[in-house]
Structures are given as structure tokens and as C-alpha cells.
């Protein structure tokens, strides 16, 4: 396959969902069945992206393809210099993989929604929005420059807003949409600042050019510190989009949207865009920036995991679990486990989408009941949903034979290796602790929802297994959560093609002095050698990873199993009473139940602060600005009054005086003009006589 073919393919893939969006939106009112077109477009997109991935992996395994065109040429701007902005496509290992993941999940969610959303009054518009989202997400994945990424970044923000507030008649839904949009804006501001620093320094938005400039040692403001700042600022975009601490508060509220939307946007793809962004700019992150990212990731993994323990809304548990898993990925990037982070991004996308769609299936069957306390015993009514949900829960808990085990174990061993090399032991400790929590709350969810006796008899009686249209995506996603897609050895991802062949080791561009020690290029591993063995960073890191791997596997298995056992003890066999435990640790329980009081805290500080600030500004506007405007008005009035008087008296007086003068002179001279020739002759004669007297000397 030629390079041109792949580029054309990527452009078609990018614009197909946009076509679906436009057609579905415009014809939605006239043709009720138009949503089939949108689903069909997604199917075509899925096939094309699969072809793209195959083409990339077979023909261009080691190179990335870039196509760009000039978008804006401002010529020579004074002071700044020439400004040219290029847009373009980049097809490399991660973008080709990511686009396939996006289209698989997007297609399955479209498929699932056909039944789930049946009977909705804005049925076709829903599909149109999904198309818009898929377009924007493809843009983020396929772009070769950070500006275009930012544009599509905002586009996914708006489609997320539209879909969260899809049932806008509900106040909570429209509020959640606004909250998501505004909270995201805060992060995006940081990202904008970061990309402006990059543009200011390198006069280009292209990742490739920025990276090569940094490799040459050209840093923003010539200091490693500013490179750190730039990295952190760009990471701010990821904090917002991936719902990382402290901006994680929007994601649980985003569950107000339709459940398939939560699966597509708020679990698998859009929230992963933040991780994708960090993966993209990984090569320019300094040691300090990475430490910051790892800290944020660890906090985001830990805090939501503790909140998820006590939530009773099936979707909220999954939402907090999503934040926690994204925190894992971010932490993995921070500790340098680059491949595992991206690996976890993909595996998590599949099993979390499956979990969300599974919860959608349950909610659909229970007639929009989301509280797990009203469920129970659904195992018998919905065997397929139960099976898929269970397997996905096993995957997210990190039990062998699933994809989740491979990636999560990788992240944990990466953080252990990092800790052994740098001494930051808190990261693996948090990671392992969160692994227990994850296993516990996921199985708590499974047990309360599907096991035991039905708590709400009436709803239970009406519950039924969902139709094929809704179950098929669950089955497909569950299959994708098994290990054999990624590696032949269920215990170690490093034996697999996915880890070693498909994802390339990251190329670092940062100067040596701002990297972690283990990331410095050592003499032993020359670049050729590193490529051959595909060793990340250095021999030290590789061997640390290798040594720690056995311990990591055992530890993570132990954690997952103990978490699951605990869940069974408490909820299945009732050996430990959950209520008594909650009673004993009342403050802790309430703290978790109320989501660490983040919403209340933000309400009291930022929201109230913003309101107070707005009131102050409004007061300044009303009193001072308006006062100045009114004052200037009255000053103008009095000045015009004075000028009017001056006009009336002085100027008009002068003009009238001239008129009177002319009239007076006229009165005198009209006497001479009698109209009688004889008078004139007398005057002429007199004049001649006078002239004669005057010139008599001649």
C-alpha cells in the first residue's frame, strides 16, 4: 500500500463521520430511518480504519506518515516574523491503533443505541451528535499538529456537552452538561497557554518539527524549567479532558447523559484523549513534569477509587472507576511506563465500554432504574449481560487471561521499577492499594446487581434479557477484553506482538540534563542496539523492569484476589456486615459517600468566589464605569451648551455685523447709481478734473 493511499484513507476516515453528522442532522426530521445511514457510515469507517492499521503495520512498520498543507499564511508579520500554519495528518503506530479503537467502540455504541434509544423524541439527532463526536475524536487522533488537536479537542468538548445535556428537559442533565464544559475549559486554558509557548518558541505547531527542534537543544526561553512548565501546561488539557484530580468532578455528573454516550465518550474515547495527548508529547516531558504528572495520576487513581466504594448509582461507580483507571494511565506515563499506559488505554477502552453498555442493558431492562440497591438477582434474568459484565469486571480487576491483567500489571511493575530506580515508593504503594479497591468495588457492583435476591420484586418481574442489537456489542467488547488479541502468553505482555511490535518505544527529545537518570542514553545501548531489542530508555530500566516483573505479577494478583474475596465476604456470603463496618467508620464512610466533599468545596470556594468576583465586577461596572460614562455625558452636555452660546452670540454676531455693514455701504453707494447717463458723465468729468489736479505735475 502506498503512502498516498494511506493518507487519502485517513482523510476519508476523518470526514466520514462528519458526513454522517450533517446528513443525519439535516434529514433527521424528514426521514425517520436516516439513523441507519449514520450507523452504516460508522461501519464503513471501521472497515477503512482497519485497512489503515493493516497498511500501516505491514508497509510502514517503522516510519510515520505525515501529510500537511498550508492553511494560513500571514506572510511577514512585523516583530514576530513569518507566520505559516499547517494542517495535516499523521499516521504512526499509536494514531493507527487509536483510530481503530475509536471506530470499533463508536460503531458498537451506535449499534447498541439503535435499541437503547428507541422511542426517544430526538432519536435521529442523537445519532447526529454521535457522528459529530466521532469526527472530532478522529481529528484528535489523526492530526499531526497541536493546534488542530486543540481545535478538535474543543469539538469533542462541545459534542460531549451536547450529549450529556441530551435530555435537557431534566435540569440535572443540562447542569451536568454545563459543568462538564466549564470544568474542561479550565484545563484547556492551560493547554492553550502551553501550545502558545511552543508556537512562540518554534514558530510551528507540528509535533514533529517541535520535537526535532527540542532534540537540537532549542528550548523555550532557553531553559529546561520552561520546558517543564510547557509540559505541565499542556498536561493541564489532559487533566480537564481525562477528568484528573482536581478537575475530576465533571465526569460523575456527566452520567446524566444517555448510557451509550457514557460508554463512548466518558469511558472509552474522549476521556482517553487526555492520555493520548500526553502520549503524543511524551518525548518532551522533563523529569519534573513527569513527576508532577505521576503525582496527579496517583491522586486521581486513589481518590475516586475510595469514592467508588460507597456509591449506589451503577453508572457513578463506573464513572469513578473510569477516573481511577485514567489516573493509572496518567501515573504510568509519569513513571515512564509509556507502552503500558497506551496499552492500558486500549484495553480499558474495551472493557470499560463493555461495562457501561452492560450497565445500559441493565438500566434498560429495569426501566431506567440506576440504583443498585433496587436491583439484585438479575443473573438469572439476563445471563448474557451478566456474563459479559462479569468478564469485564474480572478484566478491570486484573485477573490473568484478560487484557486488563496484562496492561495493569505492566503499569504496576513499571511503577515498581520506577520506584526502585528513583526511590519514589509512594506510586507503587498507591497503585497496589487502588488495585485492591478496584477489585473490591467492581465485585461489589457485580454482586449487588446480579447476585442475591431481587430487592425490588415488581421491577425484577419486568426485567428481561436485552435484544440481540444490545447484546452483540457486549459480546464483541468482552471478546476484545481477553488476552489472545494482544499476546500469546497470558502472563506477560512482553511476549506479544501488541507490546513489542505494534507500539514503538518512545523517542525522547528532552536534553539529557532534565531527564531521569534511568532515561539517559547510556553508552552500552547504542541507538541501533536499542531498536533491535526495542528497549525503552536504557539497559538499567529494562533490567529493573525485568527483575521486578515477577514480584509485580504476584503482588498484583494477590491484591486483585484479596479485593474480590473481600467483596464476596461482605456482599455474597455476608461474613462481614457492610452496614456495621459503615457504622464503625462513620466519618470515613460519609467522607467517601459524599465524594470527599469536592463538589461542596468547589461550590464554597470557586463557584462562590467566581460569583463574588462577578458581583464586584458588576458593581464596578455599574458604579464606576457607568459613573465615568454618565460624567462624560454631562461634561459633553455643558461643553456643547457653551459652544452653542458662543455660536449664537459671537459667530452669528460677526456674520450679522458683516451683513449690516454691507447693507450700510450699499445704502451710501446706491445714491450714486441713478440710472441717468448724464449724472454719470458729470461724475466722470469731476473725476477727470480731480485726476488732473492730482497729476498736474506731469
Amino acid at each position: 500500500m502506498s503512502e498516498n493511499f494511506l493518507i487519502q484513507l485517513s482523510v476519508i476516515i476523518l470526514f466520514l463521520p462528519l458526513l454522517g453528522f450533517i446528513v443525519t442532522l439535516l434529514l433527521g426530521k424528514k426521514i425517520p430511518k436516516i439513523f441507519f445511514f449514520e450507523v452504516f457510515v460508522l461501519l464503513v469507517g471501521l472497515v477503512l480504519s482497519a485497512i489503515l492499521l493493516i497498511g500501516k503495520l505491514t508497509s510502514f512498520a517503522d516510519t510515520s506518515i505525515i501529510a500537511e498543507f498550508k492553511w494560513i499564511d500571514m506572510g511577514n508579520v512585523p516583530v514576530i516574523g513569518s507566520i505559516k500554519i499547517y494542517l495535516g495528518m499523521l499516521i504512526d503506530d499509536i494514531s493507527a491503533l487509536m483510530i481503530v479503537v475509536v471506530f470499533i467502540i463508536s460503531f458498537l455504541v451506535h449499534f447498541f443505541s439503535v435499541d437503547y434509544m428507541k422511542g426517544d423524541i430526538r432519536y435521529n439527532r442523537y445519532f447526529a451528535y454521535l457522528g459529530l463526536f466521532t469526527f472530532s475524536m478522529s481529528g484528535i487522533v489523526l492530526t499531526h499538529n497541536i493546534l488542530m488537536m486543540y481545535i478538535f479537542w474543543e469539538l469533542v468538548g462541545i459534542s460531549s456537552y451536547l450529549l450529556i445535556g441530551f435530555w435537557y428537559e431534566k435540569k440535572s442533565a443540562s447542569d451536568a452538561g454545563k459543568k462538564a464544559f466549564i470544568v474542561n475549559r479550565i484545563g484547556d486554558l492551560g493547554m492553550l497557554a502551553g501550545l502558545l509557548i511552543l508556537f512562540l518558541t518554534y514558530n510551528t505547531f507540528s509535533f514533529q518539527q517541535i520535537f526535532s527542534e527540542i532534540s537540537k537543544g532549542h528550548l523555550p526561553f532557553n531553559s529546561g524549567f520552561w520546558l517543564t512548565v510547557t509540559g505541565i501546561l499542556i498536561f493541564c488539557g489532559a487533566i480537564g479532558k481525562s477528568a484528573q484530580f482536581p478537575l475530576h468532578v465533571w465526569l460523575p455528573d456527566a452520567m446524566e447523559g444517555p448510557t451509550p454516550v457514557s460508554a463512548l465518550i466518558h469511558a472509552a474515547t474522549m476521556v482517553a484523549a487526555g492520555v493520548y495527548l500526553v502520549v503524543r508529547v511524551f518525548g518532551i516531558l522533563t523529569a519534573d513534569a513527569m513527576l508532577f504528572i505521576a503525582t496527579i495520576g496517583a491522586l486521581s487513581a486513589f481518590i475516586p477509587a475510595t469514592i467508588a466504594l460507597t456509591q449506589n448509582d451503577i453508572k457513578r461507580v463506573l464513572a469513578y472507576s473510569t477516573i481511577s483507571q485514567l489516573g493509572y494511565m496518567i501515573m504510568a506515563l509519569g513513571v515512564g511506563a509509556y507502552k503500558f499506559a497506551f496499552f492500558h488505554l486500549i484495553t480499558h477502552a474495551f472493557f470499560k465500554a463493555c461495562l457501561f453498555l452492560g450497565s445500559g442493558s441493565v438500566i434498560h431492562a429495569m426501566h431506567h432504574e440506576q440504583d443498585i440497591r433496587n436491583m439484585g438477582g438479575l443473573r438469572k434474568k439476563m445471563p448474557l449481560t451478566y456474563a459479559t459484565f462479569l468478564i469485564s469486571s474480572i478484566a478491570i480487576s486484573g485477573i490473568p487471561l484478560t487484557s486488563g491483567f496484562l496492561s495493569k500489571d505492566g503499569i504496576l511493575s513499571g511503577s515498581l521499577a520506577f520506584a526502585s530506580l528513583t526511590g519514589h515508593w509512594l506510586f507503587p504503594v498507591v497503585g497496589y492499594f487502588v488495585a485492591i479497591l478496584t477489585a473490591f468495588y467492581m465485585f461489589r457492583l457485580v454482586i449487588i446487581t446480579f447476585h442475591g435476591v431481587p430487592r425490588n420484586k415488581e421491577k425484577y418481574e419486568h426485567a428481561h434479557e436485552s435484544s440481540f442489537v444490545m447484546v452483540m456489542p457486549l459480546v464483541v467488547l468482552t471478546t476484545l477484553s481477553l488476552f489472545f488479541w494482544y499476546t500469546p502468553n497470558p502472563m506477560n505482555p512482553e511476549d506479544g506482538w501488541f507490546y513489542t511490535k505494534w507500539i514503538k518505544a518512545p523517542v525522547l527529545h528532552t536534553p539529557e540534563n532534565v531527564r531521569f537518570d534511568f532515561m539517559k542514553t547510556d553508552e552500552a545501548v547504542s541507538s541501533a542496539n536499542a531498536e533491535e531489542h526495542d528497549i525503552m530508555y536504557s539497559e538499567t530500566y529494562a533490567s529493573a523492569l525485568h527483575h521486578i516483573h515477577g514480584t509485580a505479577v504476584i503482588l498484583s494478583l494477590l491484591m486483585a484476589i484479596s479485593g474480590i474475596l473481600l467483596a464476596f465476604m461482605m456482599y455474597q456470603w455476608k461474613k462481614i456486615s457492610a452496614d456495621k463496618l459503615a457504622e464503625r467508620f462513620k466519618p470515613l464512610y460519609n467522607f467517601s459517600l459524599n465524594k470527599w466533599y469536592f463538589d461542596e468545596l468547589y461550590d464554597k470556594t470557586f463557584v462562590a468566589g467566581t460569583l463574588a468576583l462577578s458581583r464586584t465586577v458588576a458593581w464596578i461596572d455599574r458604579v464606576i464605569i457607568d459613573g465615568i460614562v454618565d460624567g462624560s455625558a454631562s461634561v459633553t452636555l455643558s461643553v456643547s451648551n457653551f459652544v452653542g452660546k458662543f455660536d449664537n452670540i459671537v459667530v452669528d454676531g460677526l456674520v450679522n455685523f458683516m451683513a449690516y455693514l454691507s447693507a450700510f455701504i450699499g445704502l451710501i453707494f446706491r445714491r450714486f447709481q441713478t440710472g441717468k447717463v448724464q449724472t454719470y458723465i458729470i461724475m466722470v468729468i469731476f473725476s477727470i478734473v480731480i485726476l488732473l489736479f492730482i497729476f498736474k505735475s506731469f
Binding site: 440710472g675 447717463v677 448724464q678 458723465i681 468729468i685
Partner: protein, 102 residues
């Protein structure tokens, strides 16, 4: 007593003054015309006198002839105008014909 240039000039001056007096005082347009004839004739006397007493050859007399011809032509034109005036206004008093003044 010999007749000198001064005598001629005195006569012509008297004639000129009479002409001016006629032009200025008479109301009848024909009388005004006659005054003009007198002024022309006084200038003719001057021409001939200077021609006789100066070293100018015959040029003065030639000019006098021109003036006589001119006066004849002028009288013809002016009398035609006066006739037209009479046709329009039924009198030829110059102070009463003042239509252009308004």
C-alpha cells in the same frame, strides 16, 4: 494780430465745454446727440490745429476726416436708436427711459 495755436485751442475748449453742457443738461436724446457732435467737432479743431502748427505732416487732417465720417455713421445709428425709442416709449427723454434700472 496773428492767429496762434492758443486761439484755436481756446475755441475748441469752448466748443467742448458747450458740448459737455449740452450732453449733461438736455433731456431730449436728440439734443444729447447734438452735444456729442459738438464734442467731436471740438476734437476735430484740435487735430487740425496741431496738424497746422506741429511738425506732424497731414496726419492730423486725415484723422479729422475720419472723425467726420465716424460722426456721420454715429449720427445715423444713434438716430435709428432714437426712432426706436420713440416707437417704444412715445418720448425721447433720456431721464424717463429707465426700464433697465428696475
Amino acid at each position: 494780430m496773428e492767429v496762434t495755436l492758443v486761439h484755436f485751442l481756446v475755441v475748441s475748449t469752448l466748443l467742448f465745454c458747450l458740448g459737455i453742457y449740452g450732453v449733461v443738461t438736455r433731456k431730449n436724446a436728440i439734443m444729447v446727440l447734438m452735444g456729442i457732435e459738438l464734442i467731436l467737432n471740438s476734437s476735430n479743431i484740435n487735430f487740425i490745429a496741431f496738424s497746422r502748427f506741429g511738425n506732424f505732416g497731414l496726419e492730423g487732417q486725415l484723422f479729422a476726416l475720419f472723425v467726420i465720417v465716424l460722426a456721420a455713421a454715429e449720427a445715423a445709428v444713434a438716430l435709428a436708436i432714437v426712432l426706436n425709442l420713440y416707437k417704444t416709449f412715445v418720448n425721447v427723454n433720456v431721464d424717463e427711459i429707465d426700464t433697465l434700472r428696475d
